[in-house]
Every structure is written in structure tokens, then in C-alpha cells.
């Protein structure tokens, strides 16, 4: 049981607005929870009808898929609310697939907002392989939604 793991997870929580983390792997069981009101994702589930629940699910997916081992993967996030498209057109193949190497010059997906298809590229400094695709084709996203994890 290494404290570095806890630190990394906490950073993870801060970076991703997680309010609770539970990890269980051979012989190790771990749970962290944050103070204050529950995250909007939970909030909505509690307080609001379908649309909110939907909006929240996004954040939830992003959150749920995190774990200590991925602590140093870098996220590619959405700069704007909109609809994400993983392929240039319905018949084409995805821009990227897991394992593919990407750099700030590479278009990884499109986000449609106000009828405009915005080409999304990794931020400067993000070079590496696509470790995980965190969104589905056609899924609505908000600012900050994690689209891909690069490592």
C-alpha cells in the first residue's frame, strides 16, 4: 500500500471533480470521498428529471473509468458544449482508435456546436497513444468532458 497511490487518486479527484473513489485490487481495497455537496452528477440524479440525468451521465462515465493506474494519462477534453462525432462522416472510419499515436496536429474527433463542426486536436504537450476513448459517437458533451485519454 503506497501513499503515492492515494496522492495520485486525490489529484485525480480534484482534477475531475470526483467526490468518491473506491479501488479494489488483489488484497487492496480503497475508498476516498470528498466533503461538501455531492457532485452535480449525483445531484441531478437526486434532484432533476431525464435531461439532467443524461447530462450527468457523461461526467459519470468520465469519472467511473478512472483508476490509480491511469493517474498519469493525459485527457483530451471538450472545449465547448456540443455533440461529439468520432468519424468524419457516417460511412467513414473513426479518426482514431485505441493504441493509435496522436499529437497536437492530429484531428481526433469533431464536436458539432451551432451547426459548426469543430475539429478537436490534442493540446500542445499531449503526445502519445490513445489509451481510451471515453465518449460514444453522437454523444452530447459539455465543456471539460474527457473525450480521450492519452498515455
Amino acid at each position: 500500500m503506497d501513499i503515492k497511490v492515494l496522492k495520485e487518486i486525490t489529484k485525480l479527484m480534484n482534477d475531475n471533480d470526483l467526490i468518491e473513489v473506491e479501488v479494489e485490487s488483489k488484497g487492496l481495497k480503497l475508498k476516498l470521498r470528498k466533503a461538501g455537496p455531492v457532485a452535480p452528477t449525483v445531484m441531478h440524479a437526486v434532484a432533476a428529471p431525464a435531461p439532467a440525468a443524461a447530462a450527468s451521465t457523461l461526467a459519470a462515465t468520465a469519472a467511473a473509468t478512472k483508476s490509480a493506474e491511469e493517474a498519469n494519462w493525459k485527457p483530451i477534453t471538450s472545449p465547448i458544449p456540443g455533440t461529439v462525432y468520432l468519424k468524419p462522416n457516417p460511412d467513414a472510419a473513426n479518426f482514431v482508435s485505441e493504441g493509435l499515436a496522436v499529437d497536437p496536429a492530429k484531428v481526433v474527433c469533431l464536436i458539432e456546436a451551432m451547426k459548426v463542426f469543430n475539429e478537436i486536436k490534442p493540446d500542445v504537450g499531449i503526445n502519445g497513444q490513445i489509451k481510451r476513448i471515453c465518449v460514444k459517437d453522437g454523444q452530447p458533451v459539455e465543456y471539460g468532458t474527457v473525450l480521450f485519454l492519452v498515455g
Binding site: P40, H44, P51, P81, G82, A113, E142, Y143
Partner: protein, 449 residues
């Protein structure tokens, strides 16, 4: 009526708008910055969409992301609240261009009234009394000096795009006029992207009195009475009340009539506030400026008229006609609002962001608290420091002050410094109780005593 409304704002006013929407059976979508993820508005709204980082520039002032969220949530109207983009005529136009209703006046009206110089010209044309001074902004220092000497010192330098006291300077002679003009222009240029300034006579003993108007899209505009906001610190309102304890029924009537006149001249509809300065010595009033949005202090008007102004804004934006006529407006009792801010009032009112550890707002007959705060809430450093608006409604001013004193004494708030203590001291001051306050009193007298 609208099916879903997007609220392009945060904090107390976002919560306030959500509640009126719920009462009207309208779904709400609130947009928020990453700093507001745990805000009450996000929790209460039906849908919440993150639009950007903490600093307002990337979120609450980010027109692109707000419109994107509006389309994603498929809303049919946007309420801008106050501050941020609420008086941005370009935003209003973009919203309407997207076939989404902007809950506020036409962009044209906002432009005609938002600029102090244009507004003053329009008022003059409509026959509404204005403070003697430059017609339009001054070209240069020489013209400024010429005008200042005409109307006589002291004079006030005001940025045409200014607001909240920014881009405003007093001048008592040519020298201070020149230096004041330069700094006012620089400040306004930085804050509003427009350094133009006007010169006006400076009223020495003034009360700030404003008229709340509301108009529909059928040409009806009525006055909902005045608010007296003379208790200010550095041009920031601290206390607002209605009715004004210093004006006569005749003055009140004339002010209301002029406010309606000006609004109609600007083809104005929805809620707006026409601000006047009342000269205690000359017993006369002058048009100051018009705010083309709902204001922080609107609850004062709601309490004495027993109406929901936010609901009214939504209804007229949806095309409904005003549900009442001017003669139906009969304010009852006396309402006072104090702003509870997270500020160290004994240390220059410096903002004190931080976590509220315990919070219990006062409650009871005649007590209303509009707030977005709760125990555990972290007041972010990015925005204003308002914690709550405490509004009381009594049979008369003395009764209202009694209720206010009780409410303030019941306010339980730990974790951050607040202005509650300031207000407790203020309302016990005989000069405040006896209405001897001018707009400069807090700065020049009260804070020094």
C-alpha cells in the same frame, strides 16, 4: 409560453430565476463554470451544462459556449439575469438570430439607452430633465474645461459606457478636471472598451432614486414605483428601499411619468430601471441612466407590489400583455433590502471568499432571503462577493427597520467575514433612521465615525 429556459447567469439570481420558472411550470437549463459545479443553481436546475473555466471571460461571458449549450439543451428562451451579458446588445442579437427569445428588451433599445451620452440625448428629446452638462461625450480637455466652467464646479466626469462607479470622477477645478478626465478615460477604456466621457454638474446633496418599469410587446409600459438606493459606498448600493422616504407624492408621480415617457421613446419592452438623481437642495430630479435589465434590488419592488418580476419578464418575453394597468399599481407598506456580502467591512470591505461552515438564514413574517449559499458552500474568488439579499416588508419604515434588526440578529453565518455587522450598525444610526443620508454619506461621514 416557453417550454425550457436557459439561465445565462450564476449565484443568487440564477436560483431566483429557476424558482420563478418552476412556479410557471417551465423547465430550466443552467450553464455553469467549473468553479460553480457545486452551486445550488446547478443542483436545482433540470439541466446543467458546463460552459467553461472559473474566470467569467471563458464561461459566463463566453457567448459561443452559451449559445452552444442553448442549442444542445434545445431551449426556446434565455434569461441573462444581471451583470455578465445582461446588457450586451450584441449577445441579445445573437440569441434572437438563433431563433431563441432573449428575455429582455430589443438590442436597439439596449444600444439607445446603454450609452450614457445617447441616453441623455434621447431623454432631452423626450423632455425628461437631465443633469446640466455636455451634450454627448466631450471631444478633448479644452471642451471639457469650457463646459465645466459653463455649468460651474464641482463637476462629475462619467464614462458613457461606465457603470458601478467605474469610469467616474469628481472635479473641483480645471486641474482636477484634466487629471480626472485622463484617468476616467483610461479606466473606462480598460473596463468597457470605450473611453468616451461626459461632463455633468455634480449634485452635492443627492439621493439616488430609480423607477422600476415593465413593458410588454403591445406598447404598454407602466411604472411599478420607485426604489431609494441612496445608501451607497463608492457608488455601490448597500441598502435599497421603497417607497423613498424623502420625496413627495407629486415628485414620485412625475418621476414615474418621465420614466415611462423615456422607455416609450426608446421602444422599450420587458423590465428596466430608470435611474434619477434627486437634488435635496433644489428639490428636483434629473435623469441619470437607464439599466436595461432586471436589477439586484428588484425584490424591494416585488414586496411592496406583491408581484413576481422575474415571472412577469418571462411572460412579456413570451408575448403576453401586462396583466395590470398603471392605475392597478398600489404599493403597500415599506420594504428594505440589504446586501449581505462576503466582505471584511472593517477592512475596506475587502472581499473574503472561502467556505461557509455554518449557515442559517433568518425567516418569519415579513422576512425574505434570496440566496444561493449553504453550509459547505465555497464562495469562489472569480465573481462578486454577494452571499444573500435580505429583504424585509413592514407596515411602515419603522416597522420594516424593526423586522430588519431582528432578521440581522438571527442571521447565522460562520466561516467568512460578512457585512451583517455593518448593516446592524447602519440601521441603528439615527442619521439613517431619520433619512439624513446622501449618496456620499457612507463614504464621507458614516465610515469615518
Amino acid at each position: 409560453m416557453f417550454k425550457r429556459i436557459l439561465i445565462a447567469n450564476r449565484g443568487e439570481i440564477a436560483v431566483r430565476i429557476i424558482k420563478s420558472c418552476k412556479r410557471l411550470g417551465i423547465e430550466t437549463c443552467v450553464v455553469f463554470s467549473t468553479a460553480d459545479r457545486e452551486s445550488l443553481a446547478v443542483r436545482l436546475a433540470d439541466v446543467a451544462i458546463c460552459i467553461g473555466p472559473g474566470p467569467a471571460k471563458g464561461s459566463y461571458l463566453n457567448i459561443n459556449n452559451i449559445i452552444a449549450a442553448a442549442e444542445l439543451a434545445d431551449v426556446d428562451a434565455i434569461h441573462p439575469g444581471f451583470g455578465f451579458l445582461s446588457e450586451n446588445s450584441h449577445f441579445a442579437q445573437v440569441v434572437r438570430d438563433c431563433q431563441i427569445e432573449f428575455i429582455g428588451p430589443l438590442s436597439e433599445s439596449m444600444e439607445a439607452l446603454g450609452n450614457k451620452a445617447k441616453a441623455k440625448a434621447l431623454a432631452t428629446k423626450a423632455g425628461v430633465p437631465c443633469v446640466p452638462g455636455s451634450v454627448g461625450s466631450v471631444k478633448d480637455q479644452d471642451e471639457a474645461i469650457k463646459i465645466a466652467r459653463q455649468i460651474g464646479y464641482p463637476v462629475l466626469i462619467k464614462a458613457v459606457a461606465g457603470g458601478g462607479g467605474r469610469g467616474m470622477r469628481e472635479a473641483h477645478n480645471d486641474a482636477s478636471l484634466v487629471s480626472g478626465l485622463i484617468s476616467a478615460q483610461r479606466e473606462a477604456e480598460a473596463a468597457f472598451g470605450n473611453g468616451d466621457c461626459i461632463i455633468e454638474a455634480f449634485v452635492q446633496r443627492a439621493r439616488h432614486i430609480e423607477i422600476q418599469i415593465i413593458g410588454d410587446k403591445h406598447g404598454n409600459v407602466i411604472s411599478l414605483g420607485e426604489r431609494d438606493c441612496s445608501t451607497q459606498r463608492r457608488h455601490q448600493k448597500l441598502v435599497e428601499e421603497s417607497p423613498s422616504p424623502v420625496i413627495t407624492p407629486d415628485i414620485r408621480k412625475a418621476m414615474s411619468a418621465d420614466a415611462v415617457k423615456l422607455s416609450k421613446a426608446a421602444g422599450y419592452y420587458n423590465a428596466g430601471t430608470v435611474e434619477f438623481i434627486y437634488d435635496l437642495d433644489r428639490k428636483s430630479y434629473y435623469f441619470l441612466e437607464m439599466n436595461t435589465r432586471i436589477q439586484v434590488e428588484h425584490p424591494v419592488t416585488e414586496m411592496v407590489n406583491d408581484i413576481d418580476l422575474i415571472a412577469l419578464m418571462i411572460k412579456v418575453a413570451a408575448g403576453e400583455a401586462l396583466p395590470f394597468k398603471q392605475e392597478d399599481i398600489k404599493p403597500k407598506g415599506h420594504a428594505i433590502e440589504v446586501r449581505v456580502n462576503a466582505e471584511d467591512w472593517q477592512n475596506n470591505f475587502s472581499p473574503c471568499p472561502g467556505k461557509i461552515s455554518m449557515y442559517v438564514a433568518p425567516s418569519g413574517k415579513g422576512i425574505r432571503v434570496d440566496s444561493h449559499c449553504y453550509a459547505g458552500y465555497n464562495i469562489p474568488p472569480h465573481y462578486d462577493s454577494m452571499i444573500a439579499k435580505l429583504i424585509v416588508h413592514g407596515t411602515d419604515r419603522a416597522d420594516a427597520l424593526r423586522i430588519l434588526e431582528q432578521a440581522l440578529s438571527e442571521y447565522v453565518l460562520d466561516g467568512v467575514k460578512t457585512t451583517i455587522g455593518f448593516h446592524q450598525r447602519l440601521i441603528r444610526d439615527p442619521r439613517f433612521v431619520n433619512n439624513e443620508v446622501t449618496t456620499k454619506w457612507v463614504d464621507d461621514v458614516f465610515m469615518k465615525s
